[in-house]
């Protein structure tokens, strides 16, 4: 019997919650996500308060291109689904498929980040710099913080994939994968509010 099948046979049903340490990691991560909600909530509050302070520079209606945002949204939504597939593979104890789906998630995340960098580049060329007005500063802070979270998630999941190829799926590594997938879903949840409040409501007008 090879080491791999032995491992697959003895791995518990939900490896991420099989140990107390794993359970604590998941609970601690949920509390961290509660804190993240506070961070993004205050950034949203700042944006909502300042979004009409446009003494000079383009308005949201002139600036935002909804087709780019729609593509970015579809990409991020799909990446959230592929990380669900990764967790379904983990629950089947299928290490290879889990790593493949996490790789797809990272690739889609990179696509999203590329679109956002392109978008910011265009905006700066249209006279919408970070210090142009209170609207632009609060816009870049809110959307940029989200983009920073995406970039961190890409780095994190890439490192987890490397660790997964070396250490495999155990009760120690499983909570790490599970928690990273929660983080990725949370990024998508925040993006739902960003495209609704920032882009769509910005396009509708004050």
């Amino acid at each position: 019997m090879s080491a791999h099948t032995h491992e697959a046979d003895t791995l518990p049903l939900e490896p991420e919650k099989a140990t107390l340490e794993g359970k604590n990691k998941v609970l601690g991560f949920w509390l961290f996500l509660g804190g993240e909600m506070v961070l993004f909530g205050t950034l949203f509050a700042a944006y909502i308060a300042l979004r009409n302070q446009i003494p000079d520079g383009p308005t949201p209606q002139e600036l935002f291109k909804l087709s780019t945002v729609a593509w970015a949204t579809m990409i991020l939504l799909t990446s959230s689904l592929t990380s669900v597939f990764a967790m379904m593979a983990m629950h089947r104890h299928d290490l290879k498929m889990m790593l493949i789906w996490l790789g797809v998630t990272v690739a889609l995340g990179l696509g999203f980040l590329g679109l956002e960098i392109y978008e910011f580049y265009e905006y700066v060329h249209e006279g919408h710099g970070f210090t142009t007005n209170a609207f632009s500063t609060s816009f870049y802070t809110l959307v940029g913080f989200h983009g920073g979270h995406v970039a961190f998630g890409i780095l994190w999941i890439t490192l987890l994939i490397i660790q997964g190829t070396r250490k495999g799926l155990t009760v120690v590594t499983a909570p790490k994968f599970y928690v990273a997938s929660l983080y990725w879903h949370f990024i998508d949840v925040v993006w739902v509010f960003i495209f609704t409040v920032v882009y769509l409501m910005g396009k509708v007008g004050p």
């Binding site: 996500l33 509660g34 993004f40 669900v84 009760v171 739902v192 409501m201």
Partner: protein
Amino acid sequence: MSTHETTSPSKRHKHPSPANHYYSYIASILLTMIAFLLVMYGGLDKTFLYGFLLFMALIQVTLQLAYWMHMKEKGHLFPIIGIIFGGIVALTAVAAAVFWMWW
């Protein structure tokens, strides 16, 4: 090791069927498309549109929290409490900003 004795390979159907994940995805795609199309092509009343957009965002987020983040499964009482506390503080900040600007 006691942690390794918790299961047998035969009972692997505790997780809800993947169908819910697909339904959440399809619902999210549809809600997103409706939201974008309403703003791109609709000449709807602003106040109605604001409310409707927020409503659709809330449905989508609830679906994703419940199914993709497994909140609907057992043993998620404390995560729900933590998220609710975070949400209360976040909503207070947003409500304060809205109140400050529009009243």
